[in-house]
Symmetry: none
């Protein structure tokens, strides 16, 4: 059989960890970290002139650093996709795994699947899972736009994450 | 460092909330709320003549209302993607954030990442996360097709959601 017995189990002690880092999303040349996968032939949304009209789907491999300066220490990368998901308002839905490459949580990652209301300077996204030391993690990330270029879409976003895990 | 101490924590009291609304997915002109992002050049699935052959990927910004009438009170929007994920049967896998824009849960949202067996009149999808008052939410949505046009794909679906959160 592909399944075992289902057995009772007592959950381990729940713990909480906070993470703080900066996310760099660069769409522009010479070194974009987010690139367009595909977009609808003609989007009927209003924001057609925006860098990411309704239905634009991007792949991203965005660096995560300790400070807002892109040259500050790199501690991980955010890999996955986001789609522009508002017909009349610039907003994203994110499907991104944030992986850490230094210190205590090197090799661990958290999964963000959530709308991201980028027109609000401060907003929240949902953390729905994790790997490694962040197995079974759930939580919330408070986002604060540090820098954004509304014409080309480049942005630096501060993340304050509260993670509940085991 | 980008991480804090990891500390034990006692989980808050779990609560349950039920939501009931109607989801309007319109593919047809003049005012589609779901649009094709991309699809495979030639789908080898059987349902090539369907509005969404295997591998068709859609972006959606679908209105949520209190009643089945699209003109009934709007209480939110469903923003994200779904892909036609059955080679020989019309079925979807959903990556959609359902956000609420009125009443007690204005500004909160829930994340649905799940297969959606649309050929069954009644079926269930998984809720894997949430934001705002629905932080850490998990649960299930019972779906009931109120109306569907099998040729053009337009549909109205009743959602009865049971949410466990904190």
């Amino acid at each position: 059989e592909y399944f075992s017995e289902t057995r009772p189990i007592t959950p381990k002690q729940l713990v909480v960890t906070n993470l703080h880092f900066f996310f760099h999303d660069t769409l522009t040349a010479p070194n974009p970290s987010a690139i367009l996968i595909a977009k609808p032939t003609h989007t009927r949304g209003d924001n057609d002139s925006s860098p990411s009209p309704f239905g634009s789907l991007f792949a991203l491999d965005d660096p995560l650093t300790v400070g807002p300066d892109p040259k500050s220490e790199k501690i991980g990368n955010a890999r996955g996709m986001y789609v522009s998901s508002g017909k009349h308002v610039p907003t994203l839905t994110m499907y991104v795994d944030f992986g850490f490459t230094s210190g205590k949580f090197n090799g661990s990652s958290i999964a963000v699947f959530s709308r991201n209301t980028i027109t609000e300077k401060e907003r929240e996204v949902a953390v729905v899972g994790g790997r490694g030391r962040f197995r079974m993690a759930r939580g919330v990330a408070q986002l604060n736009t540090y820098y954004v270029n509304l014409t080309n879409g480049d942005a630096i976003v501060e993340y304050n994450v509260t993670l509940y895990h085991y």
